[in-house]
Symmetry: C2
Subunit: 160 residues, 2 copies
DNA sequence: CGATGATGGTTGAGCGTTCAACTTTCCGCC
DNA sequence: GGCGGAAAGTTGAACGCTCAACCATCATCG
């Protein structure tokens, strides 16, 4: 008779250590990133990403759906976020011309200015925490590793 | 005359790609982890870590400070979390015997049971998302990479 | 002994996120 | 044309986290 009960393969000591250190590194990274962005731009990283994606889009505007997919957030989360960004005057909402369901978010000049002001500090932070401590080979290895992690979920970006 | 204005070293295309993919991989990981834990144990990952650290501690109890350091959270965050875990009956608070300032949190039997029930699924999830897609060499490389990222912040765990 | 600062912890308000409804608009098809 | 379902967004409540303020207790040193 086949045993159909899947027994758990626990983590080896090495894996355990990698996992815990990974968690720590992540905490480090997010803490630094969010602190820096909150201080210099008055917004969390998720909001920065929204502005960044909009700034790179043609005419600096995107559908809510497109935007949600690009920053990997749920429709609800994005809607709340854009509402807040609208209050600060960095993003505007308007109805789509032809499709009555969709609304398109556009980056205002104020929003772009804030983004431009925050970008250098943000890049410096990413560099100093993630890239500077690594050798060029390690950066390359990291690239392959994250690619391998993302690969199985081909395209399907989860709603965080 | 020396130029003291630090000009930003922008990310190269390769670095940009690594960074974006890293963000994506992270989203993937946290989304899956939090979804699984929320579904199977009814708690976020931060709470799981609290229970896990307590379960490994002698007599399954730890000072709030110790606990906060181990899970890398601020005193405030931990206090709120433990309050909540107390309401569900998974953790108990009591005053320290000799030092009147410190309070010690202890894992209840219910809390241990919940943790034990959630652990296998959690480990499976970590394995299937992080370790399974990687070759043994890549796991080793990842270990060195995260170690290199953590190293500069020697011991100083940030309050997330 | 008493003042001073350090240590350990809690609290409340505000913000961001999630989750489950819900509305509106569009599409396909009888 | 009208009906059922899919697609696009929004909303409100509950929850977790942050930040600043705060309280209590210990340690030190004059």
């Amino acid at each position: 008779m086949l045993c159909v009960v899947k027994s758990t393969r626990w983590l080896s000591d090495d894996e355990q250590k990698v996992w815990r250190t990974y968690l720590l590194a992540n905490q480090l990274l997010w803490a630094a990133l969010d602190r820096q962005l909150q201080r210099d731009a008055g917004m969390p990283h998720a909001y920065y990403m929204i502005l960044a994606m909009l700034s790179e889009a043609p005419n600096r505007e995107l559908t809510m759906s497109q935007l949600a997919r690009m920053v990997g957030s749920s429709p609800s989360r994005l809607s709340h976020a854009v509402s807040r960004l609208e209050q600060t005057g960095w993003v505007r909402r308007r109805k789509h011309d032809t499709d009555g369901r969709t609304t398109v978010a556009s980056l205002t000049d104020d929003g772009f200015a804030v983004l431009a002001a925050a970008a250098p500090g943000h890049v410096d932070e990413v560099r100093s925490i993630l890239f500077d401590p690594l050798t060029p080979e390690q950066v390359e290895q990291l690239g392959e590793i994250v690619a391998a992690i993302v690969a199985p979920h081909n395209g399907r970006v989860p709603h965080v």
